[in-house]
Amino acid sequence: MQTSFHRLSTRYSLIRLAASMCAALLVALGTTAHAQNQNDLSAFVGRWQINLGQTRMNRGNHITRSDSFTFVFELAKAGLMMHVYANYPQAAPTRSNLIIPDQKSHQCESSAGCLTVGGTASDQSYSYSQISSHMLIRVFYVKGKVDEYSTYSVSADGKTFTMIAWGAEAPDRQNVQVFSKQLE
């Protein structure tokens, strides 16, 4: 009788333990807003040409853009491939880099470097975070130190792409570059 009661009690305890584990897991997963889990980046895909009328280069790093400066975003296996064209059209992109929004540091793989201002590609690395299907944030490192922050945002109607970039030393001065979606 006592053994039977003990077995029942043990079985009840095991069920309770298993239920508690499931509940804890569900709570842990349910209360966490994983920005990185929103993997749909299709809003970025396409060709975006700069709108110099709305672009403001106030960062003070003396960058000037041609009126055909263009980004082309393509879906890639782990995120997006971004091709940068200093002038568009031209035979090949000025530089390209992979966007993997995993918040991990990735080495710049473009031989031309990954910044308009130049620099040595081997010194450069960057990480991307996906805030939503329409917003990404990049942290850019030079020799392992934060050099630049930038936001990539596509408007709700999918027609406008805005990139805001600033130096880590002076976030109060930004380059705000506005792009219009182009027909393929």
């Binding site: 584990m21 975070s129 792409f161 880590a168 109060d172």
Partner: protein, 177 residues
């Protein structure tokens, strides 16, 4: 299977789960949001309020508009003073990265107003100097923003925009007091 074996397995799984959750919590807790802590007063000369477009009804800030970030348990809290000093903040927002939070203020969590019960937001920590926020009204994205503290810790810049028009922003610059 004997109960002892099942029990041992469940205990092992519990251990793994607890360890995983502690790693998860550690990864999401603000390792160091220390650069934000303190009193930040607006710099009206450097601030440009253009979120609603060049001819839109853009918000005007008082010259003493102030944020005060204070430690709040393991996280931080942002107290907002539309004029400073005053006895109490106009509103507050907890900064708990990676978690959707409901507006807890009696007043709206937005300068533009609205019903606080309909307002939710989430913060995302990029590093110790940069936070991003999504703000929802009735579960629809209303606002994106970033808050960035300069490397020297003296300047904080808040950039915000509507999801409809990211090309127009409020760019608010604050000086550490």
């Amino acid at each position: 299977m004997p109960y002892r074996v099942v029990h041992a397995l469940l205990l092992l799984m519990t251990g793994v789960l607890v360890c995983s959750m502690s790693i998860l919590v550690k990864a999401q807790s603000p390792a160091d949001l220390g650069p934000f802590i303190g009193t930040w007063k607006i710099n009206p000369e450097k601030t440009k309020m253009g979120r609603n477009g060049p001819n839109g009804p853009n918000i005007l800030r008082s010259n003493t508009f102030t944020f005060i970030f204070v430690p709040d348990g393991k996280n931080i809290r942002m107290d907002v003073y539309t004029t400073y000093p005053q006895p109490a903040p106009n509103r507050m927002a907890r900064v708990i990265p990676d978690k959707v939070l409901t507006c807890e203020s009696k007043e709206s969590c937005l300068t533009a107003g609205g019903d606080p019960k309909e307002q939710t937001y989430a913060w995302y920590m990029m590093d110790s100097h940069l936070l991003a926020r999504i703000f929802w009204i009735k579960d629809e994205v209303y606002d994106y923003s970033t808050m960035c503290v300069s490397t020297d810790g003296k300047t904080m810049t808040l950039i915000s925009w509507s999801p409809d028009t990211p090309q127009y922003q409020n760019i608010q610059v604050f000086e550490k007091q």
